[in-house]
């Protein structure tokens, strides 16, 4: 999916109002700077694509993040602010929603979420003063 036509300003506001707190809560006191930053992005669409990839396709050693609060909110935000974005087709998010039980937070998952914080931060830093 190409994120070029999303409403970036609204996505940034949603991130700063809610998704950021969800990500911090998931980190549960672990500082994101405790992990190496390994995933980079350069512009808004690029950052959102990387965020979507890391949110819904976690690495080996981290079962799933899709059912976490930040993922559900990210999914809802993309669905609302990105024309033609439909998560159900893209990564079967419905299955994740049914799994109410919270996944085990492994160190691999913490590292993944610290990468997400890096990508979301980079996304926010693309916004210049009006």
């Amino acid at each position: 999916y190409n994120f070029t036509n999303c409403d970036f300003e609204k996505i940034k506001q949603k991130y700063q109002k809610t998704i950021y707190d969800d990500l911090k809560e998931y980190m549960n006191g672990t500082r994101s700077t405790q992990f190496n930053s390994t995933v980079s992005c350069n512009n808004r669409a690029d950052c959102l694509a990387a965020i979507e990839r890391l949110t819904f396709r976690p690495p080996r050693g981290c079962a799933s993040l899709a059912g976490e609060a930040f993922a559900l909110r990210t999914d809802a935000t993309f669905t609302l602010q990105c024309p033609g974005y439909s998560s159900a087709q893209i990564h079967n998010t419905q299955a994740a929603k049914k799994r109410k039980k919270r996944e085990v937070t492994t160190n691999k998952c913490l590292e993944q979420v610290s990468q997400l914080l890096g990508l979301w931060g980079r996304f926010c830093r693309t916004f210049r003063k009006q």
């Binding site: 700077t33 830093r125 003063k129």
Partner: protein, 209 residues
């Protein structure tokens, strides 16, 4: 604030979107010239530092030109043996420049302090003020460099200073606030070099006989 990774205490500072300074405390390796290798793209090969910071004639840091918001990949080595290999967004260690060109607009008992905003979002502009009767600075901050402070007593002399702070959602928890701007003082809506010593409040006047 430095961070301890492995046996080396490393501090990273990205000065005002211009240069990155990485310094290390190599007390564990006395008399050793450690080597600093770096790159800004994970696909590139490492380059060695060309601008070392020396302490007692031994390498203690490296200064790099860096104007892009990127991930810094670096390795600090003893000979060819890597002691520490890390990669971090340099924005996580940004220290913005102090606010400049502050201007003050007085209107009765309020003043609006403005200055040029930095190019990007994600900052807070903090203005502090105090009168000669205040024991500490009082703070106010906004998302743009346009801060109005109300409830000021036109009879009193006030001093002001400002700085830029990063927001955690954009710059992470370890970024630095800027240094404070110069202090500027005002009395009766006019600039003054400094505020006169505290005028004894009539109630506390003491008479020496």
């Amino acid at each position: 604030g430095g961070r301890i990774w492995g046996v080396l205490q490393v501090q990273i500072i990205w000065f005002n979107f211009e240069t990155v300074q990485v310094t290390w405390n190599a007390s564990e390796y006395p008399g050793t010239n450690l080597t600093f290798l770096y790159r800004f793209d994970s696909g590139d090969t490492y380059d060695q530092c060309t601008n070392y910071i020396l302490q007692h004639d031994l390498t203690a840091g490296c200064t790099l030109d860096a104007e892009q918001d990127e991930i810094l990949y670096f390795s600090i080595e003893n000979g060819t043996h890597p002691l520490l290999t890390q990669s971090h967004w340099i924005s996580y260690y940004l220290k913005p420049g102090s606010p400049r060109d502050l201007s003050f607009l007085w209107q009765q008992e309020a003043v609006t302090v403005t200055c040029p905003d930095l190019l990007y979002d994600g900052f807070l502009y903090e203005v502090q003020h105090r009168s000669t009767f205040d024991t500490s600075w009082q703070s106010q901050e906004e998302e743009t460099c346009n801060v109005t402070i109300e409830g000021l007593d036109t009879e009193k002399c006030y001093c002001f200073r400002a700085r830029v702070k990063t927001t955690e959602s954009s710059y992470g928890p370890d970024a630095y606030p800027s240094d404070w701007s110069e202090v500027t003082c005002w009395h009766g809506g006019q600039p003054t070099d400094l505020c006169p010593d505290k005028l004894l409040h009539p109630k506390f006047t003491r008479f020496i006989l």
